[in-house]
């Protein structure tokens, strides 16, 4: 056992390959958060008065709130006055053509494997590239416009479609929802906006790549996706950050509105810088993601969380309409000194609502992985169904796996099932694979990927390949 433990430790000490930083000319606000900071951000973005009011209301709320302390996290105190709340590459943020994209930014995205050049673009995936909270370009805009789909940066949406933004902003995640949501609401800089009109099936995958580049800045994006009746959209989100010695805060808010009979599929591959093996540096990823599903609508969250020093994230679905469906598929890997506290909330309000939760937690090195979830069946939710499966895999003896589900049922017609297991990669499994000629490293990667299969199957093809590779890289190292 001990020998393979050592090997596992070596396997899990792979280095972060997106740790480079790009020297961009950046416009950064001085550190600190006051009402003036909020006004400055709003002014920089040339926002309408109602949005400034909304931000100020959030700021006032935030001042009265306390950081949550219930998550199972060892966290360095965050000095909110030492952070800068505005950083943007010095360039016109909205571009008419990809040729206008700053070559340095283009190179950065090339390095990340996300080509922004038209000729190299991923076929059938529209990309919104966001650097330090500001959208630098959005591809395939015209194709999408033909279908009536609006896919642009949040700032553009505020100017071009204020009525849609105003109607839905904060409708799923109210400003007072939690400490980080309130903070985001006050200072959010940019993000993605999608609007799928009635009856439209979005002709391609929509995708946003987030990149934190600047130092000492918090990143606060805001994403809003609205699917009108009978529409369908699949949205992908990827994230990376440079390797820096201090912790950086990322507090995003994502709101999904799935109207009658619509479907939103939201996939995330999160690979923020996790910090080094001693726990120095890395992103604090404190994110609020929630969707509201109306009658016969479906919201599906799929996430692969391999990065960040700390992840605090519970993508949730309010199953408001009758027969609405919520899904949550998650793979979370914590190695080195990473801590992941993640899960979902499924709030059943409508009748005949269904939710399913598949969570796969992998702990390695000194990583701590917690599944925390809530399944709540309200009195009105006749005949609600939930199935939850939480599996944990422990690789090594210094890591931890925790499963903390809350199940609250107020309707006797509900059927709620929760299953969980904890296991390790079996010596016999490794031996079997090696007897068939595979190296220990390949065998380990294969078994761990197999453990995550149910979740990877939910990802769009390109992302599934990316996720598998990421997982293998995160577990990679030198096997003697």
């Amino acid at each position: 056992m001990s020998e393979s433990l050592r090997e596992i430790e070596e396997l899990t000490e792979a280095t972060y390959e997106y740790g480079f930083s790009t020297d961009l000319d950046t416009d950064i606000a001085p550190p600190g958060l006051t009402e003036d900071t909020v006004r400055l951000i709003s002014a920089k973005k040339d926002e309408p008065e109602w949005l400034l009011e909304w931000r100020l209301k959030a700021y006032e709320a935030w001042k009265t709130m306390e950081e949550p302390d219930w998550a199972k996290l060892q966290i360095q105190p965050i000095d909110y006055q030492a952070l800068s709340y505005w950083a943007a590459p010095k360039q016109k943020p909205v571009l008419d053509s990809l040729d206008d994209v700053d070559p340095d930014i283009r190179d950065m995205f090339d390095k990340l494997g996300i080509p922004l050049h038209e000729q190299k673009m991923l076929s059938n995936v529209a990309v919104d590239a966001i650097v330090d909270s500001v959208s630098v370009t959005t591809t395939f805009k015209e194709t999408l416009a033909e279908a009536g789909v609006i896919f642009c940066s949040f700032s553009e949406a505020v100017h071009d479609h204020p009525e849609i933004v105003r109607e839905h902003l904060g409708s799923v995640v109210p400003v007072r929802d939690n400490f980080f949501a309130a903070l985001n609401s006050a200072v959010f800089s940019d993000g993605s906006f999608c609007y799928i009109p009635k009856g439209v099936r979005c002709p391609m995958e929509l995708s946003t790549y987030f990149r934190i580049n600047s130092q000492n800045t918090g990143q606060f994006e805001r994403t809003l996706i609205i699917a009108e009746d009978d529409s369908h959209v699949s949205y992908l989100e990827g994230c990376t950050a440079p390797q820096r010695d201090e912790n950086q805060l990322h507090a995003a808010v994502v709101e999904l509105v799935a109207k009658d009979r619509s479907e939103i599929k939201y996939s995330t591959v999160q690979n923020w810088y996790p910090g080094d093996e001693n726990g120095v540096g890395g992103i604090y990823n404190f994110v609020t993601k929630r969707g509201r599903a109306h009658t016969d609508a479906k919201i599906s969250w799929t996430q692969v969380e391999t990065g960040s020093a700390i992840t605090w994230k519970y993508p949730s679905v309010i199953l408001q309409g009758d027969r609405s469906v919520g899904e949550f598929y998650s793979v979370a890997l914590s190695s080195k000194r990473q801590q992941a506290d993640t899960g979902t909330k499924m709030i059943h309000i409508g009748a005949d609502t269904t939710s399913s939760i598949i969570s796969k937690g992998i702990s390695a090195g000194h990583g701590q992985n917690t599944y925390r979830g809530l399944v709540k069946v309200m009195r009105s939710a006749e005949n609600a169904r939930n199935y939850t499966q939480c599996d944990s895999l422990l690789l090594g003896s210094d890591c931890g796996a925790h499963t903390i589900p809350y199940i609250e049922v107020k309707n006797p017609g509900a059927q709620v099932e929760h299953e969980a297991s904890t296991s390790t990669v079996g010596e016999d499994q490794l031996y079997y694979c090696r007897q068939r000629g595979m190296s220990e490293e390949d065998a380990m990667a294969m078994i761990v990927n197999g453990f995550c299969r149910d979740v990877f199957d939910e990802l769009p093809m390109e992302f599934a390949v990316e996720a598998q590779r990421l997982l293998s890289v995160s577990l990679e190292g030198s096997v003697g």
Binding site: W70, V377, V409, E419, T422, T424
Partner: protein, 400 residues
């Protein structure tokens, strides 16, 4: 009884305390604590409710052992029965696990118990003894007449290689609010085996709080059964530490709520040594506006390799006003472990009901059969033949 409350009353738990998340905090705040009340007259009606089976019996009324109803002198070899009050006088140092001086009480109610629970039962089994007859500790709560909530202590120590069966029955009487706060401390030495049954059925006006702390030596076996059948708020908490290698704990519980009852089960099993195993099987049946709570933890500490732990919680909701909250927790800090848990909330199987009715069984009878079948899977664990029918008879009955 404000006169007996202490100056610096401990702070009551709130909604933010995980272990008390779903408890009725306003009701708990109404309880007052003080020294054991003068032994009130036990009504015949209550006396008649006490389950009867062969074996020595100790009866505690309002926190004070009632000598007339108790048989402390026993001829069973290896068994010593005494009262907490007596042992506190003769050899208080032998009760340091029950009244620890070096650790803070886990919550306010443990603090009240440590302060006021100065009487109760002390059961000691010498090494190498097998006690054939079950030992019965009966705790009766009779609030009123200047007494609100009683505090009782039960101390159990099972010597190396010994075996015993102990039943703790908690009953109450009357329509006055108040209740009982009983704390049990169990020590199992190496290779010892104990079946420990808590049967808790207080009247709808009362609150019943039980906490059982168990420490297990190497290769010992603890079989804990709890039957939480009545009280406005009935709580049975088990904290088991598997301290010696190869120890085994098996906990099962049935909670059967009706009316406005809230029945709360809190289980925490700590795997602190290698090669220990634990099982938790809890079942809840919830009718009317009752609420059932199960919070069960498996806590595997670093180095506790070879851990084998399983946990199951199943709930039946019989009414559209009933509520079930379940929280099956796993906390794993070792890697050579096999842990799993499962929880379900559902209702009676309509197909089975239909099937039985189509065979001529009336609907109400069919329901009863299905519910009892569900509950039997816990009741069957009880080894005392005379106790099983008593429990089944009490399911869903309000006695006052």
């Amino acid at each position: 009884m404000n006169s007996t409350a202490t100056a610096a009353a401990p702070e009551l738990p709130t909604k933010r305390d995980e272990a008390w998340r779903y408890a009725p905090h306003a009701d708990l705040a109404q309880l007052t604590f003080g020294p054991g009340g003068a032994s009130a007259a036990v009504p015949a009606e209550l006396e008649a409710q006490i389950p009867v089976f062969d074996g020595p019996r100790i009866v505690v009324v309002n926190g004070i052992v009632d000598p007339a109803r108790s048989e402390l002198a026993t001829s069973i070899t290896g068994l010593t029965l005494s009262t907490v009050a007596d042992v506190l006088t003769t050899e208080p140092e032998s009760l340091t696990r029950h009244f620890p001086t070096d650790a803070e009480p886990v919550d306010a109610f443990a603090a009240f118990n440590a302060q006021f629970g100065r009487d109760g039962a002390v059961i000691r089994v010498a090494a190498g003894a097998t006690i054939d007859q079950p030992i019965h500790v009966v705790d009766l709560a009779l609030p009123g007449a200047g007494h609100n909530t009683s505090s009782t202590g039960v101390v159990i120590e099972i010597g190396e290689g010994s075996e015993a069966t102990i039943v703790e029955t908690r009953l109450g009487h009357g329509t006055e609010s108040g209740g009982a706060n009983v704390r049990t401390t169990i020590t199992l030495h190496d290779h010892a085996t104990l079946e420990h049954i808590v049967v808790q059925d207080a009247p709808p006006a009362q609150i019943s709080l039980s906490r059982v702390d168990v420490t297990q030596g190497a290769n010992s076996t603890f079989r804990g059964r709890s039957f939480n059948l009545g009280a406005s708020y009935g709580r049975v908490a088990h904290a088991v530490v598997l301290a010696g290698a190869g120890a085994h704990a098996e906990l099962s519980g049935l909670y059967f709520g009706f009316g406005d009852q809230t029945l709360d089960q809190q289980v925490d099993i700590v795997h602190a040594a290698k090669d220990c195993s634990s099982r938790q099987l809890y079942r809840g049946v919830l009718d009317d506006s009752s609420t059932g709570i199960f919070s069960g933890g498996i806590d595997v500490q670093p180095g506790a390799d070879g851990t084998d732990a399983e946990q199951e919680n199943h709930n039946l909701l019989l009414s559209d006003r009933a509520e079930a909250n379940t929280q099956p927790r796993l906390e794993i800090l070792a890697d050579d472990v096999a842990c799993k848990h499962g929880a379900t909330v559902g209702q009676l199987d309509e197909t089975a009901l239909y099937y039985m009715r189509s065979r001529g069984i009336p609907a109400a009878e069919a329901r009863r059969l299905l519910i009892n079948g569900f509950a039997d899977q816990v009741v069957d664990h009880v080894s005392i033949d005379a106790l099983r029918p008593w429990i089944i008879d009490r399911l869903g009955h309000a006695d006052a």
